[in-house]
């Protein structure tokens, strides 16, 4: 005689637009999904108000406007975002640098991406003036930061762009807060950057890996992995692109040159203890190019890299594509 266990319900799924991308919330206990969603929305609103470089009224925009003058006190949330960005810069030896703001703007990403994408290429063509060429970052070491008093001082001409870490930080914060509040597993996916907290469903959270987070189901060929906790991020150069000066540009910028890095990897995925750490590693890998595998091996993080020709390189404990089929 065998007993039939009741099938556990699939997690509840909520999808909406936020932070200029797609937000997905998975809640292991569907009965707690509404509460988890409220927490996620509140977290996203707070991050946007603190860290957006596209909102003139954001706390970051106001802090950037003080560059070259005295220090400015910042909120606990922006302080956490600044700390995450500086830590990412430190751990990547500057490959992920929050002072790339002017470089990104000089390349034409000077407004929300929806507005950049809608702009005609001729409107973004660089002028002949020297100020519109690639602009190397000032370097994160020029940022003066007092973590005790939460005082931020930027050198003149420098602005912070927290895009490489703030979205991931939002995913981490929201997943942790929501899981603690609703008492079940929660996964937050912000534009392909995932953070999981709490007890996951049986078998873990199942995540497809793709070039584009918003791509429709690509069929059985795409790899699917399960994770139980921490973060998983994917960064790429084939999404969020625009044309300028006869070149296709994207949002990943090498702080040293102020330009897009040479095309080596199309997509890099990394799993880590947090979404911030995962996204730090993926962004650094794209900037490092051919040096990325060696650097990633040093981190011991599981990683999957896709070259521009489509060939795949799995590092660490990342399973080979089709490994369990």
């Amino acid at each position: 005689m065998s007993a039939t266990l009741p099938a556990r319900a699939e997690p509840a799924t909520a999808v909406f637009s936020a932070l200029g991308t797609t937000a997905v919330l998975l809640t292991a206990d569907p009965a707690r999904a509404d509460d988890a969603l409220l927490i996620l929305r509140a977290e996203l609103a707070a991050i946007d108000a603190a860290c957006s470089r596209f909102r003139p009224d954001s706390e970051l925009s106001r802090a950037n406007a003080t560059a070259g003058t005295g220090p400015v006190p910042v909120s606990a949330l922006l302080a956490e975002a600044v700390e995450a960005a500086l830590r990412a810069a430190e751990l990547t030896d500057g490959a992920v640098d929050p002072t790339v703001g002017p470089a990104v703007v000089a390349l034409g990403y000077d407004r929300t991406f929806a507005q950049v994408a809608a702009r005609r290429p001729e409107d973004t063509a660089p002028s002949t003036g020297p100020a519109t060429g690639p602009r190397p970052a000032a370097g994160w070491g020029t940022v003066r930061w007092d973590p005790v008093l939460r005082l931020l001082r930027l050198p003149a001409g420098t602005t912070l762009d927290l895009g490489a870490t703030a979205k991931a930080l939002a995913a981490d914060r929201a997943a942790r807060r929501a899981a603690a509040a609703v008492g079940c597993g929660v996964l937050v996916n912000l534009g392909g950057d995932l953070s999981a907290a709490g007890e996951p469903p049986d078998g873990g959270w199942r995540v497809a890996i793709a070039d584009d987070h918003a791509a429709p189901d690509a069929g059985p060929g795409r790899p699917v992995v399960s994770i139980r906790d921490g973060g998983l991020a994917t960064s790429g150069t084939a999404v969020r692109t625009w044309r300028r000066g006869g070149r296709t540009l994207h949002h990943i910028v090498d702080p040293v040159t102020g330009d897009v890095p040479p095309p080596v990897w199309r997509t890099v995925s990394v799993a880590a203890g947090s979404c911030v750490d995962a996204n730090t590693a993926t962004t650094a890998a794209l900037v490092l190019g051919e040096r990325a595998p060696g650097w990633l091996r040093g981190t011991a993080l599981p990683a999957r890299l896709v070259r521009t020709d489509g060939s795949v390189l799995c590092l660490g404990a990342w399973p080979a594509d089709g490994g369990d089929r």
């Binding site: 799924t13 991308t21 998975l26 005295g70 220090p71 956490e80 700390e83 500086l86 430190e90 751990l91 070491g141 930061w145 007092d146 973590p147 005790v148 008093l149 005082l151 001082r153 981490d172 996964l187 996916n189 392909g192 950057d193 873990g204 959270w205 995540v207 497809a208 793709a210 987070h213 918003a214 790899p223 699917v224 399960s226 994770i227 139980r228 921490g230 973060g231 998983l232 991020a233 994917t234 150069t237 084939a238 999404v239 969020r240 799993a271 880590a272 203890g273 947090s274 750490d277 590693a281 981190t299 599981p302 404990a317 990342w318 399973p319 080979a320 089709g322 490994g323 369990d324 089929r325």
Partner: protein, 99 residues
């Protein structure tokens, strides 16, 4: 009536007094140098300690302590997850890709 001191004895007395005075001056000089050094060192220590509390004085980012209260891990490198991704044949619940 006491006899006047012999000139040689008077010279020795004067020379001894001069030596005592010079020893005293050396001790005063040595003490002054030690006090000066201690004052300079104390000023540097206290200055470094309290510089933090003065508005407008902050450490360069490279020398700041990160990770305190960030919730994103602490120093020591990028942190691994509790478990590495595992392959699965089941349908995905969500998708990770560039954005």
């Amino acid at each position: 009536m006491p006899l006047p001191e012999q000139p040689a004895a008077a010279d020795r007395s004067v020379q001894e007094a001069v030596r005592r005075r010079e020893r005293g001056l050396r001790r005063v000089s040595t003490t002054t140098r030690w006090v000066t050094a201690a004052a300079v060192a104390g000023t540097a220590v206290l200055g470094a300690g309290y510089a933090h509390a003065l508005p407008g004085i902050a450490l360069p980012a490279g020398s700041a302590t990160h990770g305190n209260g960030t919730g994103t891990g602490t120093s020591g490198g990028l942190q691994p997850a509790g478990q590495a991704p595992a392959p699965t044949t089941q349908a995905p619940q969500t998708q990770s890709g560039a954005s």
